[in-house]
Every structure is written in C-alpha cells, then in structure tokens.
C-alpha cells in the first residue's frame, strides 16, 4: 500500500468520522447531508482498500439511510410534522404516475432486449469490481449469511410499511 492510498484512506476515514459526528451533533436539517458524507467517505475508504463491490454497496445502503433519517413524517408528539399534508398528495400522485410510466418503459426495454438483442459471446471475469468472486461467495459459499441479511432487511421494510400504514 503506497503513501497516496494511505492518505486517501485516512482522509476518507476522517470525513466519515466528521459525517458520523455531524449526524448526531448538527441540527436536524444537516443530518441528511452528514449521512451522505458518511456514505461517500466510507465508499471511498473501501475503494482505496480494493473493495470496489463493497464500496458500491456501501454507497447505496448508507446513502439510503440519509432520506430515511432526514424526512420526519411523524413529530416526537405523534402529530403530523407537515401541516399541509393534504397539499402534498397531488405531488405524490404525480410521482407515482411518473414511476408507473417509468416501470412501463423499463418493461418495454427489457422486452425488446429479450426478443431482439443477442448476448455477446465472450468470457466475463467479473470486471474490476470483482463481482464474479463476490457472487460465488454471496450466492454459493456464504448463501446462508446473505439470506440472513436479506431476511433482516425484509423484516425492516415490512416493519416500516406496517408502521407507515398504521399512521395513515
């Protein structure tokens, strides 16, 4: 490990520490930005260690924590945090319609690809992310651990949906 990578690792770790501390100590409006800083810095640290796949997963998973903790749909007293919640309904409906149109476009794209596009006949080694080795580990050697984490994520999403449903 050369000096530049050591400096990158130390800098990213320092930024991750700043993000973690700011997420707890800064005002609530800065929490999402602090968590995004934590996600980016962790991804940078993992990438500097040669763990490109883990860096990508960290960027997605830790970045997803930012909107979860930023938006507060329920105030600490249990009242809606947005007084104009009714006014927000049309924008949500528009977002849902846009999402439905996007899903239809993706379905058309996949259908076109399945019917008209042929795969390139060459050997794929997994690229610089090492996805082939990670896939062998996650889906073969350590499939039980991947299943356990997936189950935990599923339970968390179900709990989020359940409490959000009861709120409405």
């Amino acid at each position: 490990m050369d000096t530049s990578l050591t400096l990158i690792l130390a800098t990213c770790a320092g930024l991750a520490i700043v993000g973690a501390l700011a997420a707890a100590l800064a005002p609530d409006t800065w929490r999402a930005a602090a968590l995004l800083l934590l996600a980016a810095a962790t991804a940078g640290a993992l990438a500097s260690l040669g763990a490109g796949f883990a860096a990508l997963i960290a960027l997605i998973a830790l970045g997803a924590a930012a909107p979860l903790l930023a938006e507060s749909p329920v105030s600490p007293r249990g009242l809606p945090a947005r007084p104009a919640a009714v006014a927000a309904v049309p924008s949500r409906r528009l977002a849902a319609q846009l999402g439905a149109v996007g899903a239809a476009l993706i379905l058309l794209l996949f259908g076109f690809a399945a019917l008209r596009v042929d795969f390139l006949h060459s050997s794929y080694r997994g690229g610089w992310l090492g996805t082939a080795a990670m896939g062998r580990l996650l889906l073969g050697h350590d499939a039980l651990a991947a299943d356990a984490v997936a189950g935990l994520l599923f339970v968390g999403l179900v709990a989020q949906t359940w409490t959000g449903w009861g709120r409405r």
């Binding site: 130390a10 883990a54 998973a61 090492g130 996650l138 651990a145 968390g156």
Partner: protein
C-alpha cells in the same frame, strides 16, 4: 503487524468510535439511530482492511463480502429502529 493493516484497523475503529459517541451523546431518537450506519461503516472498513492486508489471509474476498453484508445489515437495523421508534410514538 504491518503498517497498512494498522492504518486500516485504526481508521475503521475510529469510525466505530465516532458512531458510539454519536449514539451516547444525543437524546433524540433519530440522532441515536444515525449512529447505526457509522457503526456498520467502521466495521466494514476494518473487515476490508484485514481481508486485504492480513498475512494469513487465505480468501481475500471474504472481508469484502463481510463489509458488504455489514453495511446492508446496518441499513436493515436502521429500518427496524425507525419502525420501533415510530410505533412507540404512535402508542
């Protein structure tokens, strides 16, 4: 213990320590929950560093795999914590 392994371990441990400090410092539930991603991130950095630089490492991909699983598990724990917090607020 070689120098890069020490750097990686110290970096991961420092991020975990920052997460523990954040969890203990604030009284707000959301601020405490914000420490969960930091704990997962620090542990992931340490695992990736050990996997790359440990002298007896037989499988260099295992640490990267553990790092990926840890950050996803921290996100799942954050989801569960938010759900518990919201259920407690509704009760």
């Amino acid at each position: 213990m070689n120098q890069p392994l020490v750097v990686a371990l110290v970096a991961g441990t420092a991020v975990v320590a920052a997460g523990i400090f954040a969890a203990c410092w604030s009284d707000a539930p959301r601020a405490r929950l914000a420490s969960l991603p930091a704990l997962g991130a620090g542990a992931a950095i340490a695992f990736a560093g050990v996997s790359r630089f440990a002298a007896g490492s037989q499988d260099p991909s295992s640490g990267q795999e553990m790092a990926a699983l840890l950050v996803v598990a921290s996100l799942a724990a954050l989801l569960l914590g938010l759900a518990f917090s919201r259920g407690h607020e509704q009760a």
